[in-house]
């Protein structure tokens, strides 16, 4: 096929895309840069770009003052745990919706998604009270449940669009071959949906990792993940930009690395149903 676009249009689109990309990237870049400055240089005006004394003291101090690995471990457990629990429910739910739809399936899907439009603070008080009364405050189990539930609609929606693309015939063939429902799902449906499941899991890990509202409100120390780790640098000790930046860099680094390496997979998953 021939590319009909004029070179001028192509160039201006490229420039525009680069500007948007840089705008999005700049805060992260600035954060990383700041984390290597001294507190004094971090707030100096005009800000210095490269020509400052590069230092690692912020990282050393952050690690000394609070246990990064404990927070990181909590982040991993919450993100992976909520994703795995979510997957069990989302796969079964999406299977039912994709392969045994009723007249109301579309409505149910929209309704599930609409719960994501409600501000979470609207249910903070009831959930907080439930957590307090059931002794779930500051427990990993409680947080896994909350994270799994808030992300479930997105998981179901993504898997549903994926499953829709799988020909029903193949599942019926498995049924004729004597596969029970669990076997049909495990041996036939899931292997065919691996790319979709992988991108759903990835997105969910990222969402759970970055989730800051519930993780901050329902934890104090034992179950606190990296979001709490960052937050602990912003308020109580005044604003220490350099240390805050170091803490933030440490917190987002793992997920940035995962995201970078899996971006192909992720884009493919998110745009699936749309292309084809």
């Amino acid at each position: 096929m021939e590319n009909k676009q004029s070179p001028l249009g192509y160039i201006s689109f490229s420039i525009f895309a680069w500007i948007v990309g840089l705008l999005i990237f700049f805060p992260i870049f600035w954060m990383v840069l700041t984390s290597f400055k001294t507190e004094l240089e971090a707030v100096s005006i005009p800000p210095s770009f490269i020509s400052f004394d590069w230092t690692l003291e912020n990282y050393a101090e952050v690690q000394e003052r609070s246990n990064y690995f404990k927070f990181a471990m909590n982040s991993i457990i919450l993100a992976v745990g909520s994703t795995l629990v979510g997957l069990v429910f989302a796969v079964t739910c999406a299977w039912a919706m994709a392969f045994n739809p009723t007249k109301r399936t579309k409505d149910a899907l929209l309704w599930m998604l609409s719960t994501k439009m409600m501000p979470p603070v609207g249910v903070l008080v009831p959930i907080y009270l439930v957590f307090r009364d059931w002794g779930l405050l500051d427990t990993r189990f409680g947080l896994i449940m909350v994270l799994f539930l808030i992300n479930l609609p997105i998981m179901v929606w993504m898997l549903y669009t994926y499953f829709k693309e799988i020909p029903t015939d193949i599942l019926e063939a498995a049924r004729m071959d004597g596969a029970t429902l669990p076997k049909e799902i495990i041996f036939v449906l899931l292997p065919m949906a691996v790319p979709g499941i992988a991108s759903t899991m990835l997105l969910n890990v990222i969402l759970a990792w970055n989730e800051a509202f519930w993780t901050l409100n329902l934890t104090t120390s034992d179950a606190a993940p990296l979001t709490a780790f960052i937050a602990s640098y912003s308020s109580p000790e005044g604003l220490f930009w350099a240390k805050l930046s170091a803490a933030s860099t440490l917190a987002v680094a793992p997920i940035l690395v995962i995201g970078w390496f899996s971006q192909k997979q992720l884009v493919r998953g998110l745009t699936f149903g749309a292309v084809k």
Partner: protein
């Protein structure tokens, strides 16, 4: 052991009655073909027998046992889908072996059965390939292989050859017929294709709007259609239906004459007509003509015919090949 009997089988999707009530007897070892226009419920009926759809009402008896509420696997039937429906992530070997694995067969038994099926179907060289790396005909063979290893009471085919090109279709048709002669297992076969229906079937079931119009041997349906619908549906090109004086002469509402039962003459005959289009196929010639006072007709003449547009011809029906119908479209006996 594969006698299937349907008793007052009904199927509705919501308020839509797709199958209003079907009774049908299929004997053990029979090759039965379901034909009918698109959307008449052929696939639905097959899927009801397979257990992929639940009956709304009625009984499905396999060897005397009502299986209407049994899971598909419990019915002991195998199905070959139009789309092949192979498991894309498994090798050919595992595709064929899947049903046996689900049945909990031992590795040795599985291997022996898969190898022997592969041999029958010429798939031995492809066992380690994925379906994606096979041609359409090979995929179809894998689908059949998957069906035969389970040693079913009956095979169900839903338009299995319609995705293949014409030459391959003829080959596979012969292969399936050969398979039936070898296995002697009941087969139910859905198709659109006249030739498949006429050549493969022991018994043809003609369906229309979820109703059985007629059941019979291919040549019975051809020679003695029960009504106008079957008469028009079986045979290609379609039967000509003529009303008016000609029908009155035969004491009926309408008469039907197949295109191949008309003799063509340039000098004299019963019906005068003008050629509109002549299709020369070599071995035969199809003439689409406008009969004077009777409307369009089709004639099928053997051999080459030096005729073209605007030529005047005369047609004479073979007297004992005329079908007579009453006002309701039901066939009347010979006059």
């Amino acid at each position: 052991m594969g006698a299937i009997r349907l008793e007052k089988v009904k199927k509705s999707f919501g308020t839509l009655d797709v199958i209003p009530g079907v009774d049908l007897d299929i004997n053990d070892g029979e090759f039965v073909v379901f034909v009918g226009p698109s959307g008449c419920g052929k696939s639905t009926l097959l899927r009801l027998i397979a257990g992929l759809e639940d009956v709304t009402d009625g009984k499905i008896l396999i060897d005397g046992t009502d299986v209407a509420n049994e899971a598909p696997a419990k019915r002991g039937l195998s199905m070959v889908f139009q789309s092949y429906a192979l498991y894309p992530h498994m090798t050919v070997y595992n595709n064929i072996a899947f049903g046996l694995k689900m049945a909990g067969e031992s590795k040795d038994v599985i291997d022996q059965k898969v190898q022997s099926a592969a041999k029958i179907l010429n798939l031995t060289d492809y066992l380690e390939r994925r379906p994606g790396a096979l041609s359409g005909g090979q995929r179809q063979r894998v689908a059949i292989g998957r069906a035969i290893v389970r040693n079913p009471a009956a095979f169900l085919f839903d338009e299995p050859l319609s995705n293949l090109d014409a030459a391959l279709r003829v080959n596979m048709r012969l292969e399936i017929t050969g398979l039936h002669q070898e296995l002697k297992t009941t087969m139910i076969y859905v198709t659109h294709d006249q030739v498949e229906a006429m050549t493969m079937a022991d018994k043809i079931v003609v369906l229309q709007a979820g109703r059985v119009e007629q059941v019979g041997k291919p040549m019975d349906l051809y020679n003695n259609p029960a009504n106008k619908f079957v008469a028009g549906f079986i045979g290609s090109p379609k039967m000509n239906f003529l009303g008016g004086e000609l029908a009155a002469k035969h004491n009926c509402h309408e008469i039907g004459i197949r295109p191949e039962h008309l003799t063509v003459s340039t000098e004299s005959g019963v019906i005068a007509a003008t050629v509109k289009i002549a299709e020369h196929l070599g071995a035969e010639t199809y003439l689409h003509v406008e009969a004077d006072g009777l409307g369009p007709m089709t004639v099928r003449a053997t051999g080459e015919m030096p005729l073209g547009e605007h030529d005047k011809i005369f047609l004479t029906p073979e007297q004992d090949r005329i079908h007579r119908f009453d006002a309701h479209g039901l066939a009347l006996g010979p006059s």
